[in-house]
């Protein structure tokens, strides 16, 4: 269905499509540049596993709601578009929540309210408003994938740092060898506490902007 609707009347090059996918991962990253979707992201990064599930859930919701809104974009009355968008997002979030509860109950318990909070995740609302309302379905799908990947990468980076330094494990496997602990190595207790997520994210923003000089805040 996507192929039919997206058949371009103007010739759009493959490279242009590809930029929808690559831009949000790096130069226009939703978290570090657009400041979107930080809300529900940081609390699930103590361990890598919930972070992976969260990234997957956002990928699913963002891609499908972007696609659906893009299909409906010419029929939605302008005044009630927010409500329509919220209903579409809630529909996909409910799907994700029910699936998680049925097949990954322990992860669903760990994520607790944060699955529901995908509804108010600003990335999804922001992409629907800024992109899907004005673009064809295929670019919208790619834009959804790109933004969800940009979000997921940051989430996974934070989770790796926090789980490795905070618990010495990755996905539950012991990574720091036991002999280190005998030599006096101790896990960093701060990394398990909520504020460390912001410290790690702040550092990522710093590195990202030091690398990409044009992103530096001049104000």
């Amino acid at each position: 269905m996507g192929e039919v609707a997206a058949a371009p009347r103007k010739k759009v090059s493959f490279r242009q499509y590809l930029t929808h996918l690559t831009e949000p991962v790096q130069r226009m990253n939703p978290i570090t540049v657009q400041i979107l979707g930080i809300c529900s992201a940081l609390a699930v990064t103590v361990k890598l596993k919930p972070a992976l599930f969260m990234a997957g859930a956002v990928l699913f919701v963002l891609v499908f709601s972007n696609f659906l809104i893009s299909l409906l974009r010419n029929t939605i009355p302008h005044r009630i578009r927010m409500i329509v968008e919220l209903v579409v997002i809630s529909f996909f979030v409910i799907l994700v929540d029910e699936v998680l509860r049925a097949f990954a109950y322990d992860v669903s318990k760990q994520l607790s309210v944060f699955v529901g909070l995908i509804i108010t995740n600003c990335i999804i609302m922001g992409r629907l408003e800024a992109f899907a309302m004005g673009n064809k379905p295929l670019p919208s799908i790619l834009d959804g994938i790109g933004n969800a990947l940009g979000y997921g990468i940051i989430l996974i980076m934070i989770a790796v740092v926090r789980e490795l330094l905070g618990s010495g494990t990755l996905l539950g496997w012991q990574v720091i060898p036991a002999s280190w602990y005998e030599l006096g190595y101790i896990n960093n207790g701060l990394m398990v506490l909520p504020p460390s997520a912001l410290l790690v994210l702040g550092t990522i923003v710093w590195l990202h902007r030091a690398w990409n000089k044009q992103l530096i805040d001049v104000s």
Binding site: L86, I119, C122, P195, A197, G202, R209
Partner: protein, 203 residues
Amino acid sequence: MEWLNIVIRTTFLENMVLAYFLGMCSYLAISRQISAAFGLGLAVIFVETLTVPLNWVLKKYFLDPGALAWLHPAFAQVDVSFLTFLVYIATIASAVQLVEMVVERFFPALYNALGIFLPLITVNCAILGASLFMNERDYTFGESVAFGFGAGLGFFLAIVLLASIRYKIRYSHVVAPLRGLGIAFILTALLGIAFLSFAGIQL
């Protein structure tokens, strides 16, 4: 006393912003100006104190398994709890719209102060988050009012604090790549660590 305890705990200990990172987007975007931060904070207190008890009523008489029994005994088997997210967000969206209209009509001064922030609040994660926490924790009605107020107060406190600190460091020499967003994250982390020292307070 139980209620006061909930207010204090949700304001300082389980602060919406500093412990759960809810409402981060507007928290970072609006904290550039103290007056704007103050307005948004007040609006959040107002809306949360309203929507959390409202959603509690909906949960009790509509969403819980068998909650529809008051309508007709035949509905006692019905479980519509899968609609939770949809009902909560719809309540919040319509409550915000309603509050906006009422305030505009009867309290023009307040409307001018809060006006532009009210629509923003619908997609503020702190609002939906408070309702979802209420959903998870089985509060009574009175406790849900206290929880909503405390959650709003916590957001208000955090955003005014950050705005004040950002105002103070205007002329400080921050490393260029860290300016703006980066330093705001670090400041929030330090605030969070400071708030951790409230741990263990019980009334």
